[in-house]
Subunit: 133 residues, 2 copies
DNA sequence: TCAATTATGGACTTTATGTGCCCATAATAA
DNA sequence: TTATTATGGGCACATAAAGTCCATAATTGA
């Protein structure tokens, strides 16, 4: 029960892009160096963010990634869900009726965390960070 | 990023014990059957609960497990921590100063969930459950 | 048009963790 | 003493995370 490193990389990349000249492209090489992660691995993560509609990519020389227009509204939760998926943290195979209290408690707990993360916008946090990374 | 099955087993065992004649011992065999899990595996989990001071065990014929006296105060969070440990869900190896905002946000989010789980007492939930398991 | 650069995607290996089993040992009751 | 039950170490298996490699596509610039 831990957040994956991939989520960490994704969050940091998004925050870095938020504090980067907008519309300017930056390649996976430089993003990877900054986080001390292999470019090939980070590449997979970035592709997920692209598919989630948070960033856009451009191939070819001088290509790279940049935030999409709606980025100011993206929350921590959005990034986490893009990487880890949106399935419940507590998945019980059995199905003892819809009034199962255990699941209810666990799902409610998870929602408490998600409600908070939903309100943590990347733009707000990036603004407050003095040094990025 | 999922709660382990072990946590699921632990929670269900505790809830079952809460709705069981107090001071009466029940063996791992019967507990395991009820949850459709191997006794040997459940045994390890129960030992963790013993070490966490939530239940007590008795060896020998007619031995088994039962709740300890203080059990009414035990929360979901206590059980989860006993099984999964209490380390932060978001552990960043790097240490970019104590004012790291990313960690702050993630830890705060986790605390939201924990605050909720801390207030879910086993005794309360067990009382509300019509049928146990 | 050609070569260099960059992202994408598939397949793979490695590593870590969770899940589960087996057996030896200790403790207790009959 | 024997049967029963928990404990603990070690091992095996399954699953997922983390990371690598390479082929392909898209774009730029010469
Ligand atoms: S009671 Fe709920 S959580 Fe427990 S096994 Fe049944 S469905 Fe799953
Ligand atoms: S900024 Fe915080 S979360 Fe990010 S790498 Fe540094 S210590 Fe870790």
């Amino acid at each position: 029960m831990k957040f994956s490193k991939a989520t960490n990389y994704a969050l940091h990349t998004m925050l870095f892009l938020a504090a980067f000249p907008p519309n300017k492209l930056i390649g996976v090489q430089q993003l990877a160096e900054r986080q001390e992660v292999s470019p090939t691995y980070l590449s997979k993560i970035l592709t997920k963010l692209v598919k989630a509609g948070m960033i856009e990519s451009t191939s070819g020389a001088n290509g790279g990634y940049r935030l999409k227009r709606n980025w100011e509204e993206i929350s921590f939760l959005d990034v986490i869900h893009a990487i880890e998926g949106s399935a419940s943290l507590f998945d019980c195979e059995m199905n003892h009726g819809s009034e199962c209290l255990v699941q209810k408690v666990m799902v409610s707990a998870e929602e408490k965390m998600e409600d908070f993360l939903k309100n943590q916008k990347l733009s707000e946090i990036a603004k407050k960070m003095t040094v990025v990374l």
